[in-house]
């Protein structure tokens, strides 16, 4: 937001309006990419700077030129009017995050990911106090067959980040989705259906992108005490923006 240094002929970057800010962008960026690069947080879960826009969680929904749209898939354009913090927009996000809590089995106090969990952190950011809807309490499996990794699908929010990371970065396609609707679920690349029979390595990118506690490293439990974890230090609203400002690829083009 600072003016460019006056050595070369200044080429003003195009901008759009996001709440009270004028956000500069590079053509090819989406609204959320430009916003995060400019230090403005828009709540999100399935968006990740290293991956192509996905648009499934819908938590980054904004009112763009009067209509609700996902800011992670919407191409930034000159003169867009984007409302992110409007009460109606925030209310929709609260419902969507409540839907996610309702859908899975999320018991934060007993979860190893508590404090590092984006779902939990976004819920705090949105000021959620309850799940509001009757929990569905689905019957979902836990797979401990892998020597280094625990897969607990009770906590999976179906963001497909592990699916995308394993396919595009690890080149392994360990994860995929099967079923549909409310029965949609994660499957692994083995006839037995067991993670231990796949070639997943604990060092895979797929292991580092899970926003919740569905993919957990074994033998690391509570190494960092509750109270000293990522979102104990600062709210996600601040941390996501620090991360986005320095992460590679954030300011660049996406396919």
């Amino acid at each position: 937001m600072m003016p460019p240094t006056p050595t070369a002929a200044p080429v003003p970057r195009p901008t759009f309006q996001l709440d009270d800010h004028q956000v500069p962008f590079t053509p090819g960026q989406t609204v959320i990419q430009a916003a995060l690069a400019a230090g403005i947080y828009i709540p999100h879960l399935c968006h990740h700077p290293d991956f192509a826009p996905h648009g499934s969680c819908k938590v980054c929904t904004c009112r763009i030129n009067g209509r609700m749209a996902t800011s992670c898939t919407f191409p930034a354009a000159e003169g867009l009017q984007v409302e992110s913090e409007a009460p109606e927009v925030q209310a929709l996000r609260r419902d969507l995050v409540q839907f996610l809590f309702t859908e899975g089995n999320h018991f934060c106090p007993s979860c190893e990911q508590s404090g590092d969990c984006k779902l939990q952190a976004v819920a705090y950011d949105l000021g959620l106090l309850t799940g509001h809807y009757n929990p569905l309490f689905p019957d979902r499996p836990v797979d401990a067959s892998h020597s280094d990794v625990l897969l607990d699908t009770n906590r999976c929010i179906l963001c497909e980040l592990c699916v995308r990371a394993s396919a595009t970065m690890d080149g392994k396609s360990i994860f995929a989705l099967s079923g549909r609707g409310i029965t949609k679920h994660l499957v692994v690349n083995a006839e037995s259906g067991r993670l231990g029979d796949t070639i997943l390595a604990v060092t895979d990118k797929a292991m580092s992108v899970c926003p919740v506690g569905a993919l957990i490293r074994k033998r690391q439990g509570f190494r960092v005490p509750i109270g000293q974890r990522t979102y104990d230090a600062a709210p996600i609203r601040e941390i996501a923006v620090q991360g986005a400002a320095t992460a590679p690829g954030t300011g660049g083009q996406t396919p």
Binding site: S56, C57, V59, T61, F99, T102, A176, R180, G181, E191
Partner: protein, 593 residues
């Protein structure tokens, strides 16, 4: 390799885009798709096994566990319900001591529900091993029970069980203007591609699949998009409950449809077309294949069509496998490429990035037939019928509480009450126009018109008389959307299930005012934030129902006070069943109040 699998793979040229067709082939051979078959298909097509498993798990008519040798799916549209499907279903289940969803112990029979099978004018209906049987009666169910007991293959069952009737009650211009094969192509060739595009634009034809986008604009944008290949796709995945007009059009007007596709091919410069036919209509496959073969033989498809050098165009038939969401054009394209039917992010739109990322026109059956007529008779002829913003006619599928269910074609602008009168509807309390995703109209709105500028319609017109319980109607639609949500986005995946759950509480007499409030709230979240039209419209029947039939919804509340959803006495039912007791002493609170 599993017996038969290599033939199925070879028959599909080991082409990964034909994965849905390959899995269909294995269903026909084995009745289910086993884990080892998934592994073998993945290896043969060089796909990740997990991806093949994902596709096998997506479509309703794929089974990944052994099912009965006879797989029965009862059509679960509200019109089937009104025609007595629940009782007939129970009769079949009782005959084999079976519960819904189970496989009989001898592996003979399994029974499930499926969404509307497009037989609303001759329901109730079912599918047996994929083949539809309409006009079910207690006698027909009895005959089916005997055939299943006798163990004869479905192919050898009496043909009269499988006949599908055509109830053409009112034909207007589209249905009564035949096109001599090749005539529309000749007219388009004489005019040239650019002028053909212009004629379709000037006709102001709007897509008949529901969204109403200008067909001429779509074709023009596709023709202008850069790329070496272009495609024409006919969306024949007629899945909207209450719609069956495409079934009739495909049965009796296949020639005109393919003529329209060929005209589109000429106009946009495509050499290849696809018809994506819903799985519920397998009986149309021979008709369509015969029509395609005849047209190839007559030089109306293939190379140098009508002797025009370089004008090559041909059409492939692809079958669906049970997924309403594939009626959404980008989900359809995903399915056509052999994947899970998940709607894509837009932009880009199919006109620039469609099938295999190439410029593609996706049009409804009725739209393409209309374009053939426009090519032959011109845009002015077409515009003489209809309203200012809705040119031409609309083919309606009329079902429910009417004396004469069937196909009714009218110029756009016809009033709802006119259709009701023509179909012989009496004491009508509501009409669901355009299916569950459309508009629920109450009596005071029957003066409204079927047109894009008033009540748009994708063709369905379901009628409910005063004896019907509108809460049950809405409950049926809620179950439909929950069954058909693809699950990609949070609002639709979770929202449709929450709505189904709350409607279930309401129907069971366990609803509260909070449920009514939350039904509206969830519906609005789905409407505003969903990925595609399925989630975007899934709340329509709820919001319409709550607004227009509020007393019926409030009448379902046992009390205006807060009541727990958890019913202690009902939760003891398994214990009562186990002990064989159902006397007063086995109930926690016999008064239940």
């Amino acid at each position: 390799m599993k017996r038969g699998l290599s033939e199925v793979l070879a028959g599909n040229a080991y082409d990964p885009t034909r994965l849905v067709q390959i899995l269909r082939g294995m269903m026909e051979l084995e009745g289910y798709i086993s884990p080892s078959v998934i592994t073998e298909i993945a290896a043969a097509l060089d796909l990740p096994r997990s991806a093949v498993e994902g596709v096998a798990g997506f479509y309703s008519f794929f089974e990944t566990e052994p099912r009965g040798r006879y797989r029965v799916h009862f059509s679960d549209n509200i019109t089937d319900e009104l025609q007595g499907s629940v009782e007939l279903r129970q009769r079949l289940l009782d005959a084999f001591h079976l519960e819904l969803g189970e496989v009989s112990r001898d592996g003979r029979l399994s029974v499930k529900l499926t969404s509307c099978t497009g037989m609303c004018d001759q329901g109730p209906a079912m599918l047996v091993n994929g083949r539809p049987i309409a006009r079910l009666t207690p006698a027909r169910i009895g005959a089916i029970c005997s055939l299943i007991r006798g163990g004869s293959p479905v192919d050898q069952w009496p043909e009269n069980l499988f006949t599908v009737d055509t109830h053409l009650e009112r034909a207007d211009r589209l249905l009564s203007t035949p096109i001599p094969p090749g005539a529309a192509i000749d007219a388009a060739l004489a005019r040239g591609a650019a002028e053909t595009l212009a004629v379709v634009r000037r006709s102001e034809l709007r897509g008949r699949g529901g969204a109403g986008f200008g067909t001429g604009q779509k074709w023009t944008a596709c023709a202008a998009a850069p790329g070496p290949d272009r495609y024409v796709v006919c969306n024949a995945d007629e899945g909207e409950p209450g719609t069956f007009k495409d079934r009739v059009l495909l049965m009796h007007h296949a020639d005109a449809l393919i003529e329209g596709m060929t005209v589109a091919g000429l106009a946009i410069g495509a050499r290849k077309g696809f018809i994506y036919l819903r799985a519920e209509y397998p009986f149309l496959k021979p008709t369509l294949e015969a029509t395609l073969a005849a047209r190839r033989a007559a030089g109306l498809l293939g190379k140098d069509i009508r002797g025009q050098r370089g004008f090559d165009f041909d059409v492939d038939l692809h079958m669906g496998a049970g997924a309403y969401v594939c009626g959404e054009e980008t989900a359809l394209l995903e399915s056509l490429e052999g994947r899970r039917g998940i709607p894509r992010n837009r932009p880009p739109y199919p006109v620039t990035h469609g099938y295999l990322g190439r410029p593609t026109v996706v049009n409804n059956v009725e739209t393409l037939i209309a374009t053939a007529q426009i090519a032959l008779f011109g845009d002015e002829w077409f515009r003489t019928l209809g309203t200012p913003r809705s040119a031409g006619t609309r083919v309606l599928s009329v079902s429910g509480d009417v004396a004469r269910p069937g196909i009714y074609e009218y110029p756009f602008g016809v009033t709802v009450s006119q259709v009701l009168a023509d179909a012989g509807a009496e004491r009508t309390q509501a009409v669901q126009v355009s299916g569950p995703s459309g508009t629920l109209l109450a009596r005071k709105e029957f003066g409204r018109r079927i047109a894009f500028e008033d009540v748009p319609s994708a063709g369905a017109f379901m009628v409910f008389d005063e004896s019907r319980d509108m809460v049950r109607v809405v409950d049926n639609f809620a179950r439909f959307f929950a069954h058909e949500s693809c699950g990609f986005c949070t609002p639709c995946r979770v929202g449709t299930t929450l709505v189904k759950q709350m409607m279930g509480h309401l129907v069971a007499g366990q609803g509260s005012r909070r449920h009514l409030k939350d039904l509206a709230r969830v519906s609005k979240v789905m409407k505003q934030t969903s990925q595609c039209g399925l989630g975007g419209t899934a709340g329509n029947p709820i919001l319409d129902g709550l607004e227009k039939f509020e007393p019926a919804f409030y009448g379902r509340l046992p009390s205006l006070e807060v009541r727990p959803v958890f019913d202690l006495d009902a939760s003891l039912a398994p214990a009562r069943e186990a002990t064989g007791r159902d006397d007063a002493g086995a109930h926690l609170d016999p008064e239940r109040g």
